[in-house]
Amino acid sequence: MTSRREFMKEAATGALVFGSQNGLALTRALDSGSKPKSKVVIARDPALHGTDGKLDSARVSALLDRAISAYTSHNRTVDAWKRIVLEAGAKDKVIGLKTNGLGGKGISTHAVLVLAIAERLQQAGVKPGNILIWDRNARDLQACGLTINTEPNQVRCYGSDVSGFEDTIETWGSSRVRFSKILTRECAMVINLPILKDHSMSGVTFALKNMYGMIERPQDLHATGCNPGIADLNAFSVIRQKIKLTIGDAMTSVYEGGPGFRPEHLWQPNALIIGEDRVAIDQIAWGILDKKRVEMGLKTLEDARRPPRYIATAADSTHALGVNDPQRMKLIEI
């Protein structure tokens, strides 16, 4: 286990992962070369879904613990979560959990995962009222299986339809957006909780595209396969600074016909994908989707003429949001 002193020493010598530039700096460089690597953990449990097809909540919590331990190198998950909160500068501040319920019931971030994270945060000393589960609106949150709650002393759960959006239009590249006040005014840190899906326009929707649910008019960023819309949006400083960690829900997914619920194309990867580098996560997610598509006799996303080009754009020198080169990633599968 890494002590805080050791960690700070490594940080000072620059031996930290790429994603740490704007993130948590939770992981160490994994080789001694000059180029750091982005760490991504894929944790799987083939028995995550019971015989009735429903998620086993105890197994989901256990999978989350395994994934966080592997990612942070902390054996005790409570220590890992304390470290995450501390490194994010979110101690005694509001931590947002940004879900994705756009696809509707059946293909939204699972409540059981969201609530497990909220529980672990509380065990790490975060007050319930400082945890805010949020998305675009009440309908999206309810699609995840969550209940709206605005009680200040409890874990809160509401959407941007309650908070509203900033009046000021912000610009980055091609993007002109108004951010949710939940992001700009309430949260010191946000944990990104997307769900892995095929997307009819962008090819893949996962870590990077989940930011679309933080702005007032996401439809304005959908042109040309959401490229450069997704990359531009992620480049805004408020997103760079506050989206510290992604815990991707790949327990259920659609490999074709997304982003909506298509039971005929539903599958259960039974996995969580964790990292700070959203570009690396999406690059890996692309590979997972393509592998499944080929298994099912479908064309790859490239051959289907909707490759997720936004990933390379996000990695380019203009955006510099992370790495899409597998050689610069450290993928740990457990």
Binding site: G53, G106, M201, G258, F261, P263
Partner: protein
């Protein structure tokens, strides 16, 4: 013609006209079957209607293919079968039949079974999609059981009759 016969004829025409108008109105008002209209099925939510410019709010990036295919209006409602099986019904009204056909065939995969509903229908284990004229109807169930497929087909026929 005797005055009584004339009065009868006028009354009959008036009644038929009222019937025809109210019948048309009913079809225009809602193709969504009311609770109990199809055995076992309850309409469990209000109908939501989206214009093309707002369709993204419902189906995000999927909206683009419908807009390109000429969608004019989208209506959706939730249903429940015997209080257990949950489903959602989406009705896309296109500017012409070709738009409905384009969308239906675009999403077709090799595991689809044809089903005799409307002008063309496709069925999967948990969903039924069919087109009738300018309408494309998709019914998706959230759970799967032995009852799912026949229940979805019954609901689809009920909707088809209202279009």
């Amino acid at each position: 013609m005797k005055p009584l016969n004339v009065l009868f004829a006028v009354s009959l025409i008036a009644l038929l006209a009222v019937g025809a108008i109210s019948g048309c109105k009913k079809k225009i008002a809602t193709p969504f079957p009311a609770s109990g209209a199809i055995a076992g099925w309850d309409k469990s939510s209000e109908t939501r209607i989206f214009e093309p410019k707002d369709l993204w709010q419902y189906i995000d990036g999927d909206s683009e293919q419908y807009i390109q295919a000429g969608v004019v209006s989208t209506s959706t409602s939730d249903y429940k079968y015997k209080g257990q099986l949950e489903a959602v019904v989406d009705i896309y009204t296109m500017s012409g039949p070709n738009g409905a056909q384009t969308i239906l065939e675009h999403g077709q995969t090799k595991d689809a079974n044809t089903v005799n509903i409307g002008d063309q229908g496709l069925m999967y284990a948990q969903s039924v999609t069919f087109r009738k004229g300018v309408h494309l109807v998709r019914i998706v169930a959230y759970q799967s059981s032995t009852e799912t497929a026949p229940a979805l087909v019954a609901l689809a026929h009920g909707i088809e009759a209202n279009l």
